[in-house]
């Protein structure tokens, strides 16, 4: 019954895949929650019992926090650029950059794009579907790696001098 092992393998694979997608969506939502307190009305949203229709859509909030956000965005950008100057391993670089970018995106969505001040149902209707759809594209990467394994030439002609791994 060697197939049992294959089935187990499939289960793990499917689990990893789904985990990637759902986990990604969840972490994004968590990020939004930190920025925009999305945790509140989810149950109420599902039951359709949200608060007043004009709830907070244009809640009066000062401009001050927008300046702070702007400053934070600039700061994170500088941080990212700084990373390029100290030579980190590529994977660490990628994870850090993506993490910072997600944080910046969350700030832009939450404050500049007002998502923090919209009704939670609005955010819940829009963001998870987008994130899941985008994360689904992760499925193409195993094939990218396969192409890598079968690549005929390893060094591109141009910039062969500066090539230093991918």
């Amino acid at each position: 019954m060697e197939y049992v092992w294959y089935f187990l393998l499939f289960a793990v694979l499917a689990g990893v895949w789904f985990g990637l997608i759902v986990g990604g969506a969840a972490s994004w939502c968590a990020l939004c929650a930190i920025v925009g307190r999305a945790n509140k009305d989810i149950v109420a949203f599902l039951r359709g019992e949200l608060a007043k229709p004009s709830d907070g859509a244009h809640k009066d909030h000062g401009m001050a926090e927008n300046y702070v956000v702007w400053g934070a965005l600039l700061f994170f950008t500088l941080l990212e650029v700084g990373l390029a100057y100290i030579h980190l391993p590529l994977l660490i670089m990628l994870v850090t950059l993506l993490g910072l970018s997600l944080l910046k995106a969350a700030l832009i969505i939450g404050f500049f794009m007002h998502m923090k001040f919209e009704k939670r149902s609005f955010a819940i209707s829009i963001i998870p579907a987008t994130v899941v759809t985008i994360l689904l594209l992760n499925v193409i990467f195993p094939d990218g790696l396969r192409s890598n394994a079968f690549r005929e030439e390893n060094v591109p002609e141009e910039h062969a001098d500066s090539g230093e791994g991918h």
Binding site: L13, S54, L136, P142, G144
Partner: protein, 586 residues
Amino acid sequence: MSVAHDVEEEHEVHVHQEPKEFIWKYIFSTDHKVIGKQYFLLAIVAVVIGLGLSLAFRYHLATYTPQGMFLNPDHYLQAVTMHGTILVFMVLTTAPLGGFGNYFLPIQIGAVDMAFPRLNMLSFWLTLLSFLVLIAAFVVPGGPPVSGWTGYPPLSAINSATPGMGLGQTLWVGSIAIFCLASLVGAINFIVTTLDLRARGMSLMRMPLSTWAWFITAIIALLSFAVLFAGGLLLILDRELGTSFYIPAGVVFGAKELNHKGGSPLLYQHLFWFFGHPEVYIAILPGMGIVSHILANFARKPIFGYNAMVYAIAAIGVIGFFVWGHHMFQSGMSPYVAVAFSILTMTIGVPSAIKTFNWLGTLWKGNIEFTSAMLFALGFVSLFVSGGISGIFLGQNAVDIYFHDTYFVVAHFHLIMGVAAMFSIAAGTYYWFPKMFGRYMNEPLGKLHFWLTFVSVYSVFIPMHIMGLWGHPRRYAGFEYAFLNDPMIPSMHNMITAAAFVAVLAQLLFIFNYFWSMYKGAVAPENPWNGTSLEWITASPPAFDNFGGKEPVVNHGAYEYSVPGAEKDYIMQTDPPEAAPHAAAH
């Protein structure tokens, strides 16, 4: 911003008068009803071209000899490619969603118009532009592309792969890109309209299933066309600017190595099928909605398991995004990924089974009237079962080893996505024609149309399954193989071609009936089929603002037929709550 200011801005959306000049009333109209008809007309023109092409290559296959081919292999593949592209994009995506959806979604939810009437017009004109660009491929030097409606690179990315052709392929990609934009704009409009403009009392669970289907379809379109757009963009870059997204190193044409390197044809396949599989549901989901709507009406029964139907539509929409890899089992894709895709593909059988089950349940203990619309709806159910069941073969990666790219696949997707969707379009037309034009379509002609179509399409596609079992690969312009030299194959091709001619001629009958009835059909009242949903409280055809200045208030679910204790056998959605004390609470 103050609330008062908000209200002041609200009104402008709906304040638009009916234009008087012909050009603003019928050509550049922002009225969703006119736009719906425009989409429908576009689909009719496209379907005539698409089916004409299919007759051409069917005739070619039936009369094939190596010496005297009706089409040469180039032209055969061009016909196949354009047939697929035109029907998938310009007919199956436009007619059920752009046509019926535009016309009836606002009416069924009690809205005056779409949320963004001008964007609605834009989406139609972009679709038309896309169609014209596609058709232009016929007249450019070299003609239309030969790479199939899927347009796999490198065949589609490199001109020297098919000598003599080039611009046609570029136009094809351009047309697809424009179509993506049009669908995007349309989808935004549908989603916003459905969520924001429902009349009072029209809760989500009171919406007719057709509205649900259009709504979910729009969401699918919103999320999937975006990826195709990116894929098409990169294909254009590969063709025109010499990038190599889809072209790996070491590709040789005419004994000369290309300069491209580093890409992968699988990347395109992923991006294409990420859209391509949801596209199948874009084509068929509105059909499911329309058919559910019609079955309930003519069986005089509430939908069996309305909630389950809604969840099934939504589930199909969601799962449809998780299964695209089943088109790529034999494409060299990672076999581990294939396993996951295969298992997920099977899960989509579950909501499909629910839908079939509930359609049968809706008929059960009903009082079935056999109008043309109902016949087509019943035919749809039959075709949906027949076409869906062969998906169980193709969704299994192991079985697909044998069936991939054979006639079995052709038969499968034509039955479910082509013919079944066509049946739903026909059913919808017979059903809603009285509302759209104030006249009935001719019933005897409609029944003749049904019988000719029903018999002929099965005669076309059931033999194709058998040829697929024999291993006949698709897109073959001739039979240069020993195993295709079996006398059974040409006789099957002859039979299929004969049936195809009948099927296409029957559609001409339908188109004739359509235009003839527009002027000569029997005059129809407001509610000719004793339906319950909001389109039946409007005039036939509806006023410019749909409800003649009145605003409907909804008190019932969409399918309250044969409610015990009620006077009539149907309770309209706007009937007062007292009209049906025993109706189920929604």
